[in-house]
């Protein structure tokens, strides 16, 4: 198999510097929803000027290039070990080229590895073998500000009067948004997982962020709940950067996983406005990016 390190490097460059069109169009709607001359409007103006600048100059949208989260789907013939090596080589090279900030810090010594290579989860790579189709690699760069405001609720939650049903999910999600205020770099996006265990809940909530903003949920009830959470989160008035305003959450995606009888987790991953998400597809010898 051909060494895909240069192609993965290009995937990282695009992800760090070029915001996806679906996200940018949501941001432009948000810009128009804020009152002229408000601090919120000014924040959106700055955000969108930055988006244009980084696309043109090939510089990072945000200096916090986060934990690189790779999701690999590989058909027969590709070895995960090879792909892991290519991803790690490309990550180190992208750091050298300043598409990524050196972010991997040894938790005990405090030492930064300098090249974004750390222990087995840094960068994070999820592999899934598929029966047929192309090799695909999705990448999300998720910064620490929004990662820190993610939350996991164990229902029932007495304080929120949240039971084990979709109404309980709604209560947990709105509480998470209110707690986050502007700290997750609002206006943001929510990936929500119902069920799983504590670990898989967070993985699934991040996989939910792989969907395009506005993509229809195949489950009608979840789709309706997504719309309701987005609408009500905006009623909170937290606004861009927490300055107060009309745009707090620009999209919600909910997924549901099996759970233990004893557990009912609602896991909320908050994605900042700098929703850096790209995909590369390898079809025969041809690599394309979306």
């Amino acid at each position: 198999m051909k060494d895909l390190t240069p192609e993965i490097l290009e995937l990282i460059r695009r992800t760090s510097t070029d915001l996806p069109a679906d996200i940018e169009s949501r941001l432009r709607e948000a810009q128009n929803n804020e009152a002229p001359d408000s601090a919120a409007r000014k924040a959106m103006d700055t955000i969108l000027a930055n988006v244009e600048m980084t696309r043109r100059d090939s510089t990072p949208i945000c200096q916090d290039t986060g934990t690189p989260l790779f999701f690999v789907k590989h058909p027969d013939g590709w070895k995960p070990r090879d792909i892991r090596n290519w991803i790690r080589a490309a990550t180190a090279e992208a750091t050298r080229l300043t598409y990524l900030r050196p972010n991997a810090v040894d938790s005990l010594s405090g030492k930064n590895s300098g090249n974004n290579l750390g222990s087995k989860y840094f960068p994070t790579i999820h592999f899934e073998e598929i029966d047929e189709g192309d090799l695909t690699i999705d990448l999300i760069l998720k910064g620490g500000g929004c990662e820190n405001v993610g939350a996991q609720y164990s229902l029932p939650d007495d304080r929120l009067n949240a039971g084990r049903d979709l109404e309980g999910v709604r209560r947990a999600a709105l509480d998470a948004v209110n707690r986050a205020q502007g700290e997750g770099c609002a206006p943001g996006f929510l990936g929500i997982a119902i069920g799983g265990d504590r670990g898989t809940g967070f993985i699934a909530s991040k996989e939910a962020l792989l969907h395009e903003a506005g993509e229809k949920n195949p489950d009608h009830a979840l789709g309706a709940l997504e719309d309701q959470i987005t609408k009500e989160a905006n009623e909170l008035g937290i606004g861009p950067m927490g300055f107060g305003g009309n745009s707090t959450v620009l999209g919600t995606r909910i997924t549901s996983e099996h759970r233990l009888p004893a557990s009912y987790f609602v896991t909320v991953s908050y994605m900042c406005w700098a929703y850096r998400r790209r995909k590369m597809i390898v079809h025969d010898d041809k690599v394309t990016y979306t």
């Binding site: 990072p60 500000g145 205020q181 937290i238």
Partner: protein, 209 residues
């Protein structure tokens, strides 16, 4: 609220600080220093609540920082920096990081370094707000994520302290021109963050009733 940008320069006088009100947009020029989690912990452990004897080197750095930062600003930022191999440093991306993590340290750090301004994102809590009243000082909110745009306002990297903390955590001394920010906590006891949180929490209560 006044949406004409106010031009302010470092070091800041008490009069300039008192003139600033929550909601003011500012363009900041002068020399400032980046400092975040590791820097605040280092300052606290070495100089505010000393846990061990301070090395001569750390003492020297501390004195130099006090000189640079008298009436100045600390910026909660972990930049992307080019030129690490040649030491001809250049800021590539330099937006703010979340400030509230420094809340346990900030008031003391402001006082010990002689700071008049803290720049970051997300706002800070009551202890910092109280310090802004006493000093007087101000909290300036930069636009989170607008990292390349903000880096354009960095004219020169003058030096770096504590690079052993790693690039994001090091204390970078930079000269900025027209650095864009919004006053969200002022020296008169006003905090936009406290106001927004109170309002949104009341709305949440209704949505969950």
């Amino acid at each position: 609220m006044d949406f004409m940008d106010k031009q302010i320069s470092l070091p800041l006088s008490d009069a300039a600080i008192k003139d600033l009100q929550v909601g003011d947009s500012v363009l900041l020029s002068g020399t400032l220093v980046t400092g975040r989690d590791a820097a605040h912990k280092w300052l606290t452990d070495c100089f505010i609540h000393p846990k061990t004897a301070v090395t001569q080197e750390d003492q020297r750095i501390f004195e130099e920082l006090r000189g640079i930062l008298a009436g100045g600003a600390i910026y909660h930022c972990g930049p992307v920096v080019a030129g690490l191999d040649t030491k001809e440093y250049r800021f590539v991306a330099a937006g703010p990081t979340t400030s509230v993590r420094e809340e346990p340290y900030q008031a003391d750090v402001m006082k010990i370094l002689g700071l008049k301004a803290v720049i970051g994102k997300g706002g800070m809590g009551n202890r910092t707000l109280q310090a802004c009243r006493e000093i007087p000082g101000v909290y300036l909110h930069a636009i989170g994520g607008a990292a390349s745009l903000i880096a354009k306002s960095v004219e020169e990297v003058l030096g770096v302290y504590k690079l052993e903390f790693g690039v994001p955590e090091a204390m970078w001394v930079i000269r900025v021109r027209d650095f864009p920010a919004v006053v969200t906590m002022d020296s008169h006891g006003q905090s936009l963050h406290a106001d927004v949180r109170t309002r949104s929490s009341a709305i949440l209560e209704k949505l969950l009733s």
